[in-house]
Amino acid sequence: MNTGRVRWLRALGVILAVAIVQVGTFDQTLLFDRVRLDLPLYLLVAIGFVSQSQEAAFLGFVTGLSVDLFQFAPFGVYALLFSVVAWGLAESQIRLLHPGPLFRTIQGAMAIIGATILMWFAGVIFEQDPPPFTNHTLITLLMIGAIGSVMVHPATQVARWMLHDRPSSDMTSAPTSATAR
């Protein structure tokens, strides 16, 4: 079996495992009564950080499908959102030269907040009537971003292991160097 196939199988296994852990545990737990740990979303952002844009879009799509499997939203809505978010993140990485850990942390937080807002809009489109935007919402979004910025670091390590043949301890390396296989 060639390394490319092993890499894709490994990626598929990790994505499915993350979806199962999410639906088995974290979907039912709210931190501080308002923030849900969203492992597939952290993995998605990490994929956007370490992949080329084509690969990120496809893996984002697969990650979204794994979420769609266990949710009862219209099938495909997470695949749609996740592929676009992962692609956008990967595209933005091309323009960055060796971003530092602090920059990645802030970028991760922004990406997670952005994806959360996109899902909020998806809820509006599907007439879920989410709560109106208030100070409470703003605090929740900031908490989602803060927790996400921490979670993105281990998620990036997982994504590197999942997608590359050798694990890397350097979070700051640009995707162009990481994906030059």
């Binding site: 199962i20 852990v21 639906v23 088995g24 545990t25 979907d27 039912q28 737990t29 931190l31 501080f32 080329q52 844009s53 084509q54 879009a57 496809f58 799509f61 979204g64 499997l69 266990f70 949710q71 009862f72 939203a73 219209p74 099938f75 495909g76 809505v77 695949a79 749609l80 592929s83 676009v84 692609w87 990967a90 595209e91 899902m119 909020w120 998806a122 809820g123 599907f126 007439e127 879920q128 009537d129 989410p130 709560p131």
Partner: protein, 268 residues
Amino acid sequence: MANRTVSSRRIVLLLVVTALAMMTLDARQTGPFQGVREAAYSVTSPLRSAVGFILSPIGDTWQGIVHYDDLAAENDELRERVAELEGVVDRLPDREAELNELKIGTDIDFVEALPTIAASVTSDRRTSVERIIEIDRGSDDGLREGMPVVTGDGLVGRIILVTGETSQVQLISDPRTSIGVVSRGTRAIGVTTGDGDGVDLRVDLEEGAVDVLAPGVRFETSGLNASDYPGGIPVGRLVIDGVRVRIEPLADLDRLAFVTVILTEEDR
């Protein structure tokens, strides 16, 4: 570089179109997605249970840390309650009388002759795009898709996916849930639609009905032809706020620990 960007845009476009096609098929209920979800839930059910079992101590510890004060207060409250109940039990002449009281307290009078089964809520997923709970009963217990789920107060939702040991219940607050309703006194009919968590149900009443209905009038499932629910299950009470007419659910959808599934005879 430019070619690669164009190529990646094409791939994203293709993926977006694919996702939109899947969403359309799912909305029309013509795709294989329901079957795929059932298979995914069935195959991963032991895994999900195992993951939940292994990680639950971590979650419990975390809950204990962040909710210590609440837990201490709850403990005090429970101790008082236990003492109170011990007093009640002491006053009961025998176990039979106690059982009768319990039966009266938990009796769901609107179900009448239909068989029911109690279930506990094991998961509560309310994202921006869905309102779903999971219960610990499945096809092994005789549950099937479409069966209504209630509490003693009224309608909670209906089962939309069943595996051997668990079922997924779509709440009446989910916007994809529509219920034919009728008011007990006036026989005015209408259709309610979910509008999200903590928000009363939308209701489309027959013409002129609003003029004769008073706030607080109770509505129950109509059970008319093509309805997803049998008739007579309490749904909510009418709320009129200016020109806005809504139905406030009778069941407390935010605090669902135990529910009852009505084992209807056939698919409705």
